[in-house]
């Protein structure tokens, strides 16, 4: 075999991420300060009807590592989705993403969760979401005596995601450093899934 191929250093990448994170944080602070202004406070004081829906679309920068005995999917990329907020706290969401790493692959997620209502902490609205995730496209697949054919169906995982740095105001939201874990279901084997999203920004459309 040939010797290990040299890999490039990641110093530049870290620098770039740091700049992005700082910009996102600044955006969140700005959003937060806007929300606490009198005008924003006036809006947030509007009564919410018990059955109200609020549909938002969002973009996100996800990363995922799906690992089971049958396969590995890993990468980072970008995606978009839609989220319905019901009664001010219940979250129903679906999103798609395209990731690059161990090949090129897609991620589809369906989620149900809850956010802290604005009546509790204003624009600071952390959320927890249960997710069903599917990964399709390029994967690193494994074969063995017990598994003489490579997995061919999409990889499925169930898990949860926490968004602790999440701010909602004036029909906009930003979430930083969301992390999720889950169970990678290649039954009868069960592996693990780690998800992360550096930043998610969204806009309420109605």
């Amino acid at each position: 075999m040939s010797p290990c191929l040299p890999r490039r250093g990641s110093g530049t990448g870290r620098c770039g991420l740091g700049r992005l994170a700082r910009a996102a944080l600044a955006g969140a602070v700005l959003l937060s300060s806007t929300a606490s202004s009198p005008a924003a406070a006036g809006e947030s004081d509007e009564p919410t009807t018990a059955s109200s829906h609020s549909l938002a679309i969002y973009g996100r920068s996800p990363g995922a590592l799906f690992r089971s005995a049958a396969r590995t999917a890993a990468g980072v990329g970008g995606g978009a989705g839609a989220r319905d907020t019901v009664w001010g706290w219940l979250l129903l969401q679906a999103d798609l993403a395209y990731l690059v790493g161990l090949g090129n692959f897609g991620e589809a997620r369906l989620g149900v969760g809850a956010q802290l209502p604005d009546s509790v902490a204003g624009s600071y609205q952390p959320a927890a979401t249960g997710l069903l995730s599917l990964y399709f496209g390029d994967q690193l697949r494994f074969m063995s005596t017990d598994r003489p054919t490579p997995a061919s169906d999409p990889a499925v995982a169930v898990g949860g995601q926490l968004e602790l740095l999440r701010f909602v105001a004036q029909g906009q939201h930003v979430s930083l450093l969301a992390v999720g874990v889950g169970a990678a279901l290649d039954l009868p084997d069960v592996g693990w899934l780690v998800q992360a999203s550096l930043i998610e920004v969204g806009l309420t459309v109605f």
């Binding site: 075999m1 040939s2 590995t72 690193l140 494994f142 074969m143 005596t145």
Partner: protein
């Protein structure tokens, strides 16, 4: 009624399962393949590897100085001039007619040794089995083991006829960047179809204690390094499944496989470290059989490696598996 329905479902499940197994190895004469596998001689492979080690140890080192002041230090321990002559002579001794594929390029000139067993029905469809003859130090495992296996496959397979052509290919300068195999791939005429190319690269080193096997990023390899690894990509999934089926039916060697994406990326570079890679990059089906080299072998690319460290069971089993798979894909033996 419920019981009857259950029996019907069970029957359908079993029938479907058997059908799939039969489909994977459709047309295979497993008895003949088993006899062919039994003809592979580990003793002859050891003799060939000893001859190759002698060639490397007595050879003048690669002229690394010609690569400039930033030449990779290890390249000064590479030898490749005497080894191709050993391969050519051993194939001639087996009654075969090897030919040389030469490319002149100064210090990076290459000599690939090629040898065809012409197909009797579809000679333009080629099943290639290859290795590389250049090596650091004596190269007992990397890649005397793979080269010796290819020579032995030449001896055994040449006793039979096949519908497709079987091509033995022993490449040069793999260690400096797959140079010989890349040049060979560039030379393949459009009239030929590579059914599959199988590279044998470091196939004889095993360890049996827990923790002896390391994994590249993303892999889920067993903890004990006593298996042969098969590396394929999405374009070669069917061939990989057939190789697993053949191995299970004939019980040849402990086999673990990884199927990588067809699109190379920075995280899959470890999948591209042998002579199957130029075929992949040219869109041709190819696979690698390997003991995983430095992920298991602490003597990888060092002068400390010697023949007594090799695992003859793994080595012989891997050569038999390669012989059986190549014969099956070449539509034989006859």
């Amino acid at each position: 009624m419920i019981t009857r329905a259950r029996w019907l479902l069970l029957f359908l499940a079993v029938a479907t399962g058997l059908g799939c197994a039969d489909d994977v190895l459709a047309g295979a004469d497993l008895a003949a393949l088993g006899r062919l596998a039994a003809e592979v001689s580990i003793d002859r492979m050891v003799e060939d590897d000893v001859a190759l080690m002698g060639a490397h140890e007595g050879d003048q080192s690669f002229p690394c100085g010609e690569l400039g002041p930033n030449a990779w230090t290890l390249s000064c321990s590479l030898t490749n001039q005497a080894s191709w002559r050993v391969v050519e002579q051993r194939l001639r001794d087996a009654g075969l007619e090897p030919r040389l594929h030469r490319t002149e390029d100064g210090a990076l000139s290459t000599v690939n040794v090629l040898c065809d067993l012409p197909g009797v029905e579809r000679p333009d469809e080629v099943v290639l089995v290859g290795a590389h003859h250049d090596a650091f130090y004596s190269g007992v495992d990397d890649n005397g083991s793979g080269t010796a296996a290819v020579i032995e496959l030449g001896r055994v397979l040449s006793r039979y006829r096949f519908a497709r052509t079987i091509r033995l290919a022993v490449f040069d300068l793999e260690e400096l960047g797959l140079i010989g195999s890349a040049r060979y791939v560039d030379s393949i005429p459009p009239s030929e179809t590579i059914v599959i190319a199988v590279a044998l690269d470091a196939i004889a080193y095993a360890r049996h204690e827990p923790g002896s096997q390391q994994s590249p990023f993303g892999f889920a390899l067993p903890d004990v390094g006593d298996f042969i690894g098969m590396i394929t990509n999405d374009d070669t999934t069917d061939r990989a499944t057939e190789m697993f089926a053949l191995n299970q039916r004939l019980e040849l060697v402990r086999l673990e496989g990884a199927v990588g994406p067809s699109t190379p990326s920075a995280l899959t570079l470890d999948l591209l470290r042998a002579d199957h890679a130029p075929f992949w990059l040219a869109g041709m089906p190819a696979m690698l059989l390997t003991d995983t080299g430095n992920f298991r072998n602490p003597y990888y690319h060092t002068p400390s490696e010697w023949l007594g460290m090799m695992d003859l069971g793994l080595w012989g089993g891997t050569a038999r598996l390669a012989a059986v798979a190549v014969a099956f894909w070449a539509r034989g033996p006859r």
